[in-house]
Amino acid sequence: MEFYEVLNWVLMIAAFAVMIGIGAISSRKVSDSDEGGFLLAGRTLGPFVGAATIVATGFSGWGFMGSPGVAYEFGAIEVLGNFFFAPAMMVAVLFFASFMQKRALKMDSNTIPEYIGQIHGGGSGGRLLQGVAAAITIVLLMVFMVSQIKAVGLLGASWLNIEMTTSAWMMISVIILYTMWGGLAAVAWTDTLMVCGMALGALVIMVQMFTSVDLSEWVARLNAIDTNLLNPQTGAPYGSSKSSVYLVFPYAFLFAAVLPYMSVRFLAFRPDVKMHKVGIYVAILGCILSLIPLVGLYMRAFGPELDQPDSAMPMYLQTFLHPALQGLITLFIIFAMKSTANSMLQTVAAATSHDLRLALFKDAQHDSPHALVINRIAVVGLGLLGLLMMMYAPPFMLSWLGILGSGTLLAAMIGPVFISTFWQGNVTGALVAMLVGFFTSGGLLMLTDLGWVEGPLIGALASSVCYVGVSLLTRQPLAVLRQSC
């Protein structure tokens, strides 16, 4: 085994040991008598940890691996498109999070499906909504999680020179272990460690790139290859019009505000945390991480020609960085993937063990002595299920299903999660909105050529209209009925 391969193993073992240690420490937040301890970190997240876990979860491995590849192929427009996730997360934190947090605190909601059920009046209708929201969350996030496990498994395999399946087993085992131990607290604290690594990795890469070349030469080389790289005349790959790229902003805002594995973090903040402090941290971290796609432009100008644009980041690391730094940055990219995968596992497990349990069994109780055991079993079971799905699912489907999963979930949840925080519809409206969002976005992504931004946004619009329209239409007869009585 070569020296740098040994170094990679040492780095991995040290990182995993720290994460498991964090899981052990965070388990102090967990108790048998309060499910919020496991599901919401006991509502104890401070401004920095809260911001870090939001940014780490939002910037997945895509930002480090996929986005530089798109920038290599399509040019600077991807730098702008990827950047929109940063202001979108900040706007969601500054102008939406506190509303949702206060309502959830008042109702004692521990998960997003539970929030949906409670905000629509609870009771049997609320339980129905909670169950449907949980089922949609489980189906769509499992698919997304499987694609993340696959991605982290592939990268770990090339990093450590081992089989992909072995690598995926190692990576997911550690996630299962600390998530089972400490719940959302463990996920948030490990995310904080990981996002610091990701930001450090981004800064190291920027220092290497900007100190090694002259900026004017960089621009001249890109223009010599294709003037569209820096001054695109279309919005490709986001759409035919230049303005298509701006659609990423509303998409990313809804991604941050509505998706259960993102917005559940708003519920986990300590009640006295001021969101303007969180916003500052989100803006700084987002600003740093949004620089990563520049690697694609650097590789296009100065790197070897690539057959596969997706290999822009691995080839950059191999060509321009010292092997020791290459290993360290690869660890940080693995962090980016793991920080998204652990959040999905935690959300899917909570939807199964908490929401489905409460929705299906009328007599099931909050904070029962067995709830913690059930929650932990769900983490282990669903983590292993994700691993098995990854091993047997056709590889070509995984990345596509990942896109389908997040976009469709966003379209399904906009009415009952986002609109309901400001304007309350009823159970029928919420149910119809979830189903219309699910089938519209899913149908558009599967059956048409619409892009990954446009399909979910149209689904979200249809879902929103249905939420308000159906709620108003089904509310009126009831009011008339009450008056006549």
Binding site: G75, L80, K277, C287
Partner: protein
């Protein structure tokens, strides 16, 4: 930078940071003067 996309990227980055700082400053001032957010 001779690139409308990268110029916009830089401007939006600055705008994002200014918005975050501005929101922080307004909230801190309101808190100090006892105004409930």
């Amino acid at each position: 930078m001779n690139s409308w996309v990268l110029d916009l990227y830089v401007q939006l980055n600055v705008a994002m940071l200014l918005l975050a700082i501005g929101r922080y400053w307004i909230s801190s001032r309101n808190n100090n003067s006892g105004v409930e957010e």
